[in-house]
């Protein structure tokens, strides 16, 4: 019984130590949430909800009324609502990187979009489906056509002046090319 009581003491001490360490470990390592693009859109902001007011199939390409409605639609897309609770969270998101600033070896600013090279018949992605990513130090973007997984802290910033509008930005921590998709 001596052996088992010694062992028992060991196990109890280990258990006590671990239980005090574990909570602090979970604070030390922030978990990266893997999101997809739908998670950036508030519920209720969807194609169906937007299109409900517009019967787009009834307009010809050259119809001025259709053009006006399209421009209104574009305005809505440019001020799409964001999900405030995402501010400050560490997330990862797959997409395509479009470089804005930097040189070939190190891109310091790029836009992350859900798709690339889409046809002209659909409008470009709404503003809550685009993330402005800052990378310091800069990262190398090999090609426009390679999908990447970008991780970092996402923020909600009001980047517009005059027109009240908020968009997603991110401070990049990691970027990797998605190999199989």
């Amino acid at each position: 019984m001596k052996v088992s009581s010694g062992l028992a003491k060991c196990l109890i001490t280990a258990g006590v130590l671990l239980s005090t360490l574990l909570p602090s470990l979970s604070y030390a390592v922030d978990e990266v949430r893997a999101l997809d693009w739908n998670d950036l859109m508030p519920a209720g902001f969807s194609d169906e909800a937007l299109f409900a007011d517009y019967d787009v199939s009834s307009f010809d390409d050259g119809d001025p009324e259709g053009q006006r409605r399209y421009e209104e639609f574009q305005e809505i897309l440019q001020s799409a609502p964001v999900i405030e609770s995402l501010d400050g969270q560490l997330i990862s998101l797959p997409g395509f990187a479009l470089p804005l600033e930097g040189d070939y070896e190190a891109t310091s600013l790029f836009l992350l979009v859900p798709y690339f090279g889409a046809c002209i018949h659909v409008p470009p992605p709404p503003s809550n489906q685009i993330v402005l990513v800052r990378a310091d130090p800069g990262v190398k973007i090999e090609t426009l056509f390679a999908p990447v997984k970008v991780s970092g802290r996402i923020r909600i910033e009001s980047t517009d002046t005059g027109i009240a509008h908020a968009g997603y930005t991110m401070d990049l921590t990691n970027i990797e090319t998605i190999e199989d998709f």
Partner: protein, 418 residues
């Protein structure tokens, strides 16, 4: 000690050794040069424009628009009307615009008509603004601001008078001789096409062309420089314009609105994206060029291998003598490997020297002819990798004749049968 033997042996066969060294040196110089050209050309292009969200021009192609508006390579297919430009300059999501008007030249340098805002909003490199070496931006109708290379190559100083020619090259009969411009500012060096540009106001461009119709000056209807001042000089068309937006995220929407503008066929590009498209297009050619350069290095090393193998026969006596003073077969092996290593080391060093000298000699010409700014600096990580890899490869390749020599010495002993 073996190193000393190896060096002595090489010195003894100077002529052949130097030729082999040059083979390796030239192939290494080629590889270094190709990599440098690739890297610096890309950096030079990427550093030309910064912090501009969109560039807009007449509808042609995204890469073409990027090349002629930012790099002054190629030409626009058509102009865009002042009204269309104003429509987007007043767009609620547009913070600033800078109009650009191209098509004239002065002694081989392109003339750019633009607004005073150009000097405030044009950025290059990592958001660096343009600064003046001397003077200031244009104020008067016939003022001009020149880039650093224009001033240096033509020897211009402030107050210099210049005649602008119509089109890209001046052969003397298409100049706007009656409307000379005056240099009022010289920009500091940027390492971009700005250095090779003469900047004037849009009104200045209009004034020059006020008595030109259908591309030629109308005889008998000439308007003097002073008369032109009194006339309405608001431009009717420009070639392109740069745009800064209130939010980068709205770039796609504004781009789409410009692309689909019903009144005039225009296109908008995001300069960073268009540049990436250019690299993607060239990537196949780049890979091919790199592969060829590596093969040239392989050919150089093969040349070294064949030289060493050829001399093996005549060096059997040399090896026998070394054996007789106590060298072990393994030391013979090491000796040959060291020799190859020395070939590699000195070949790459010589190659680096050849490459550096060529770069110094060609830098000015490359800048003038292609606008490429190649700087010679201390070796970067890629260059160290190349130098190290070639030396290592030479040493590895040298183990082949080393092994043959090793086998020979085992067989020969002291009586060498040649």
């Amino acid at each position: 000690m073996l190193i000393r033997l190896a060096i002595a042996s090489l010195l003894n066969r100077r002529a052949t050794v130097i030729l082999t060294l040059f083979t390796i040196a030239l192939s290494v110089a080629l590889l270094l040069g190709v990599e440098k050209l690739r890297q610096d050309a890309k950096a030079s292009f990427a550093n030309t424009i910064s912090q501009t969200d969109l560039v807009v021009g007449a509808r042609s192609g995204s890469i073409q628009l990027l090349l002629y508006s930012v790099f002054r390579i190629g030409n626009a297919t058509s102009n865009i009307s002042w009204d269309s430009y104003q429509h987007f300059a007043n767009h609620p999501r547009v913070k600033w615009t800078v109009p650009l008007s191209l098509g004239d030249s002065h002694r081989g340098f392109r003339v750019l008509g633009t607004s005073r805002d150009y000097f405030q909003y044009y950025r290059y490199g990592r958001g660096q603004p343009l600064t003046f070496e001397q003077g200031q931006r244009f104020e008067d109708l016939y003022d001009a601001v020149i880039g650093a290379d224009v001033a240096r190559e033509l020897g211009y100083t402030l107050g210099q008078s210049m005649i602008v020619a119509h089109g890209l090259v001046d052969i003397g009969n298409s100049g706007h001789k009656d409307k000379p411009f005056r240099v009022v500012g010289i920009l500091a060096r940027t390492g971009t096409p700005v250095d090779r540009t003469v900047h004037v106001s849009l009104a200045g461009i209009e004034a020059m062309h006020i008595d030109w119709q259908a591309g030629v000056p109308i005889p008998g209807r000439s308007i003097s420089a002073e008369q032109a001042r009194q006339m309405d000089l608001e431009p009717r068309a420009i070639t392109a314009f740069m745009v800064g937006l209130t939010s980068k995220i709205s770039a796609f929407q504004v781009q789409r609105q410009i692309n689909e503008y019903r009144r005039e066929p225009m296109q908008a590009i995001l300069p960073g994206v268009a540049l990436q498209e250019l690299w993607d297009l060239m990537s196949v050619a780049e890979q091919a060029l790199r592969a060829v350069s590596i093969l040239v290095v392989v050919a150089g090393l093969a040349g070294m291998l064949s030289t060493i193998l050829n001399t093996l026969a005549e060096r059997r006596r040399e090896m026998a003598i070394l054996r007789s003073v106590g060298a072990r077969p393994l030391q013979i092996f090491t000796l040959f490997t060291l020799e190859a290593g020395l070939y590699g080391l000195f070949g790459t060093l010589l190659g680096y020297l050849v490459y550096s000298l060529s770069l110094l000699a060609a830098a000015d010409w490359l800048l003038e002819s292609y606008g490429l700014n190649l700087q010679l600096g201390p070796p970067g990580s890629l260059e160290w990798i190349i130098l190290g890899a070639v030396t290592f490869a030479a040493t590895l390749v040298g183990m082949i004749p080393a092994y043959v020599a090793y086998r020979n010495t085992l067989a020969d002993g002291l009586s060498v049968r040649i």
